[in-house]
Symmetry: C2
Subunit: 409 residues, 2 copies
Amino acid sequence: MSAAFDFTSAFRPGLPAPAVKFAGFPKYNFVGGHNHPDHIPVDGLIKAAERVLKREGPSLATYGLQSGALGYKLLREFLSKKLKSYGDISASPDEILITSGSGGGLDLVANVLASPGDTVLVEQETYGGALTRLTRFGLKPVGIPLDEEGLRPDALSSTIDRLKSNGIRPRYIYTIPTVQNPTGAIMSEARRADVLKIAQAHSIPILEDECYSDLIWNGRRPPAMYAMSKAGGVIHVGSFSKSIAPAVRIGYVVAPWDVLSRMLALKTDGGTGALDQMILAEFCVSEFNTHVKTLNTGLKAKLDTLTEALAENFGTAAEFVVPEGGIFLWVKLPDNVDTRKLYQTALAAGVAINPGPEWSTNAEHGMSRLRLCFANPSHEAIREGVAALAEVCRRDFGVPARIANVKRA
Amino acid sequence: MSAAFDFTSAFRPGLPAPAVKFAGFPKYNFVGGHNHPDHIPVDGLIKAAERVLKREGPSLATYGLQSGALGYKLLREFLSKKLKSYGDISASPDEILITSGSGGGLDLVANVLASPGDTVLVEQETYGGALTRLTRFGLKPVGIPLDEEGLRPDALSSTIDRLKSNGIRPRYIYTIPTVQNPTGAIMSEARRADVLKIAQAHSIPILEDECYSDLIWNGRRPPAMYAMSKAGGVIHVGSFSKSIAPAVRIGYVVAPWDVLSRMLALKTDGGTGALDQMILAEFCVSEFNTHVKTLNTGLKAKLDTLTEALAENFGTAAEFVVPEGGIFLWVKLPDNVDTRKLYQTALAAGVAINPGPEWSTNAEHGMSRLRLCFANPSHEAIREGVAALAEVCRRDFGVPARIANVKRA
């Protein structure tokens, strides 16, 4: 009677493994879409908080402020303008839904378009979190191989045909056309047109994830597929996690109201956090463009440090295409390196990496590859972390054969 | 080829009805857990924002700040103390999970304890949003009748036995013991002990929702069931939506780590909004107690205005038990009034109410009842709104027979 209650028998069957307790970040943190503390515009956010709360603080009294369930109106108005200038997207504030990060958008799109057991087309190398989400919903991701421009239209076409011959109609195509995750590829305008044409010919909607598209060194980018598609059929997702701060949980979905109204019916969070929305909007209206330019200068410098450190410590053992933007580098190590094993031993040495198989639907292709995020660690941490990673890799897999600075010594 | 893309055929089968566009709030807003703009501590929030961002703004650079997925550490530390002083709950910060409102907690509890088709016990009159959530997850809510102290232990016991004889084991019991929604009942300590005893005898976990428990006029309340259960088996959910501001999307779940770690594995929002968490925590540490006292004084005065307006306009046609706290009044009208129909015509007259059947598992019992929320409308709006509601009700249902002030004229 007074025995302790046993929750184990109360859990529903089939729960995923429990989370592990947070024990702080690793010393050399090359995983996750984190930013660096120095890149957070703290003073601007403080001023924005004061201004917006003085003006509109009392509206916190109502769910959704005075803006309805789509999200804070000034933020949607800012986004309407920003989407035009950054991706040539024409969308009214009522065609924009504010979500808890872009992940909130990915979940809602999956839930309005697909049922458990359905197939979704993804890029063969893609955001690991997207793969996890699809699997959790009981969906089947099928990967389309990439080249240096991203999604390959020939492979997309043949995969759709192959599935069709098996009676399978993919529910949507998930693509990251601008600074592809993890490869960093930027899909050309011509390639986008090809992909759109194929999708429309088969009446398959496209989910375009542009989380990283503001982080391009030269500031130039092709138009968003959402903008290019005259017939519609594209849902666009974006985020402020990478351009401002990931802890501020603000992303957005751009779609016609017919689609957003279906998503809203499934959005059960009572609205996205108001202080996050209000302060972000107030900051962005005056400072987004300037901030992003400064941020990109900082990110480019870190990428330079990372590629130099890799060349110095791994030599030709580390192959990569230097991206034109973003926060990550996709690295190929020699074929004998299993990055899932490297992940374990590197972590023990304080170096966190994303093993390739978690970022790919093709475990074999991903096996000797890894993703290194460079926004969070300092320049010094990048240099030390890459050296430590090379040391572990050499010890466990014999590559790189010699550490460069030892060779030079 | 250039025909507009038709999303209708792309949606998955079985989607709920689309949301309707926000067109502003009704003139007399007696629905939803809104607060009044004057009750928002705007100056305190501005000062809190400045302090906490100056001190910890750079930590926005990392997902989860420096606190991990459970939520901002200072907020969980504040809650650990607040839960002890308000509900006698002993919980360490690592036994508290910050969610997007209490609704985020309700969703996570449903998802770790129950599978589609399972049965959940609820109070016969209960939070409409909880019923909607359960139904959306494919769960079957079974209502337990209430009395003036809330959930009836005899009815709980007999319902469990009846279900058992049909081979059904309810996955959990959902109760709002302190300021029950919608009846406002406060469950006595003895009653809580009885309910706990029954639940434990059958090894059924309890989900205790204490969203409104800080809003008690005299500040005195029985201990939380979470605190009383020596054996465990209770999951506690609370919120700042009612005590501070609903647009600030902060609620919490209190449970052993074994349970929270399962919830975290299903929490896909990338963390709860950081600015909401940080500013709220910073404000609450110094001002929560004072603020809640002021708020309760204001709410009590509004309840007085509401009950006076009902007496004046409805006379004996409106029956209710005056609650000792909260933000709503549960009103019984004469049997011939169908509040679902009244809802429609009242809304056309600018008066929004919650029809009883949406707040009950027993549509017949709920039919002539309605819920009136009194926190959002001003005193003047309460008086005018109740008069307008009486006018509509008299026109459509013949009750109240005469409007009191007409009679007096």
